[in-house]
Chain length 403, copies 2
């Protein structure tokens, strides 16, 4: 991981000029995607990793959902596309994570889906009782795991620092629970290596893809299960439905403890005993918001033709511009300089980060403050121009220098 | 309960004439509410108890949410009203169930909220292990209870017929789980009597208000907790967020097993250990869909000035019109004739109910078929005219007579 000193660090290069940034925009093969989003004129939005912007198509999709499907078709819409939405939209997420279409479903929230999977994993091999995760993981993962281990007698949540994880995977490990890209530092786990390591120890692995899906190439390969968020890089809207994936080989063995009627084998048979639905259907719980589902589907349609390799290339270039800005003022960058070791945001430490971010927002540059000392900027190649990131970097330099 | 024979049953009266129905509409004190909803011209919509129609104000509320709050304000909206929405909207539901404003929160689905409350109730007094519910309860209640008892060692779900419930409440009962108005028959439990009975036995009680809230007067009084649905009589839209209530005296003792970050005491402190939020905040789990929340809030604003007593009076009158239609063709009505013993829908048995309902829908009368032999019609006084129900009754008579 780089220290961010603006001297001879590998990967450092001086800030490009504004004209050079504009030239990059002129030859950017992704430039036309920007028009598919509503990007307010008054801000530089480097917060797509917290809430992706509104896809233009979603305005009409949402109006159609509300006015035609709900207003006019009413209850009839349940058989005209609503009932199948979780699986249909899940299939549109599948290529973004390297899963098969019938291994993904859209449902509930990341938190609820983690709960389902952790309990299922703990029941898979009752001899294994430990859920292993990383200190400083995104909090809901640890909070939910606390709740889930309380539901399985003898189960335990073990949280260790990243550098102690390897030594902690053992024959008591039921589940390794990792977040692919760290929400704060942007460090990326080596997914194939960690999946292999968990399997070698006889454990299952669950990946949280919230900060990677839609931003970088993800190949879930033979991981057992995963969850992910719809409202960040997938642009599904505030509180968009989350998704979850279960490898086909586990689908008939994993059970859903949140055994609601929508996951029943025959929801409209209205029978008293629960019987799990086939495949991913069993992971549904209650009735999903169709307003939320329609926005999610429209967002996925908006990016269906995006080349993920082009995203990664541009993301790396945007990173370099922002990193150079941080370097120029001596900020410590907590994000790895090697693109293969990170996601698509960049974070710097600053002792007065909360104030710095407030002032940046007042200057029209929207990023995130993350406690206690992190300035975080989302780099979303779909709709950010090189010029945007150049300007954001210049504002960061000016703001920090002014203090 | 009435048998529905069209002879001398108490409460039977002959079908009024169409002109009389129109006269009722002319003097209906609720008539002006209809204009607040989008009611398609081509159908008689007697299915508001499955999916309430679109409130006109929701069209603009939804557009504002999507285009201004999301599209323009982006992440800033979280501090401009989004974060507080679950409690703020919960407070708008509170008067509909007789709870205090700070006893209700809007979150997740009925199924997820039931799960949270059942586990909390089972942990309340570890000496009590039984969740008691009714055979034929709305299926998700029983399905979710199956999942929840599996999370508490020694816990058990006991499902008995309605007439055996009284004898089954005992000193092993942790929780009595009842649905206030039955989704199929429309029978209503005597809420004060059952709450008292549970408490007398030292048990907790949880009411599912999905088929009563917004349709009839509900006074949760000293019940321990309850859940309810936003998409039926509250008109919050397909898959609207659900709500839950916990009596203030339990709020610091009940814990949420679905311990997600949004229910944390300080969600943005990002600390590893979970610490429950104050009051109802702890019942939040993941990030809620703000599209769904906005539609829910708009729906509640739409009906904020409705007089529930007037609703009940009109509901009873609409019931009589529809009941008389059923009587005229000898259908068995499974719904009690005494308004105090029912909710706001009416159900008839017909051996070929599925086909009859298909044909009625083809005639433009939308109700529900409920397996195996139930024709169900929602009577929603806010936007149904007397004439609508008269016409629906006439179509029912014609359809059944034609067979």
């Amino acid at each position: 991981m780089g220290t961010g000193k603006a001297t001879h660090h590998e990967g450092f290069r001086p800030l490009i000029t504004l004209n050079e940034a504009r030239a990059c925009d002129d030859s950017d093969p992704l430039a036309h995607f920007r028009d598919r989003f509503v990007i307010p004129d008054d801000v530089l939005y480097l917060d797509g990793n917290s809430l992706g912007p509104l896809p233009r198509a979603t305005i009409d999709a949402n109006r159609d959902l509300v006015e035609r499907q709900w207003g006019d078709r009413l209850i009839r819409s349940w058989t005209e596309g609503w009932m199948d939405a979780p699986a249909r939209i899940g299939a549109k997420i599948a290529p973004w994570i390297g899963a098969a279409a019938d291994e993904v479903i859209v449902a509930d929230t990341v938190s609820a889906n983690l709960f389902k999977l952790i309990v299922a994993a703990l029941r898979y091999d009752p001899a294994r009782k430990v859920v292993l995760s990383e200190a400083g993981n995104f909090p809901t993962n640890l909070h939910i795991a606390e709740g889930a281990v309380g539901c399985v007698p003898g189960a335990e949540l073990r949280v260790v620092p990243r550098d102690a994880l390897k030594g902690a995977v053992g024959d008591d490990t039921a589940l390794v629970l990792l977040t692919h890209v760290h929400y704060k530092t942007c460090e990326r786990f080596d997914m194939p290596a960690w999946t292999a390591r968990a399997h070698m120890a006889g454990a299952l692995i669950c990946w949280d893809l919230s900060h990677s899906v839609g931003a970088i190439a993800v190949d879930i390969a033979d991981a057992d299960c995963s969850v992910g968020c719809g409202y960040k890089f997938l642009n599904g809207g505030p509180g968009a439905p989350a998704f979850m994936h279960v490898a086909k080989r586990h689908q008939e063995r994993f059970g859903n403890v949140l055994s609601g009627w929508m996951g029943h084998a025959a929801p409209f048979a209205f029978t008293d005993p629960y019987a799990p639905g086939l495949g991913m259907e069993r992971w549904r719980t209650g009735t999903p918001s169709m307003l939320a589902m329609a926005a999610m589907e429209s967002a996925l349609n908006t990016i269906a033709d995006v080349d993920i390799a082009a995203l990664e290339t541009k993301s790396a270039a945007l990173f370099d511009i922002m990193a150079a800005a941080g370097d120029a003022i001596g900020l410590e960058c907590t994000t790895p300089r090697d693109p293969a070791q990170r996601g698509s945001h960049i974070s710097f430490r600053h002792p007065d980060a909360e104030n710095v971010m407030s002032c940046l927002i007042a200057r029209g540059v929207i990023g995130d403050f993350r406690t206690p000392d992190i300035l975080r900027f989302g780099l979303t190649p779909l709709y950010l121009k090189y010029e945007d990131v150049w300007r954001a970097g210049a504002e960061l330099v000016e703001e920090v220098r002014s203090r």
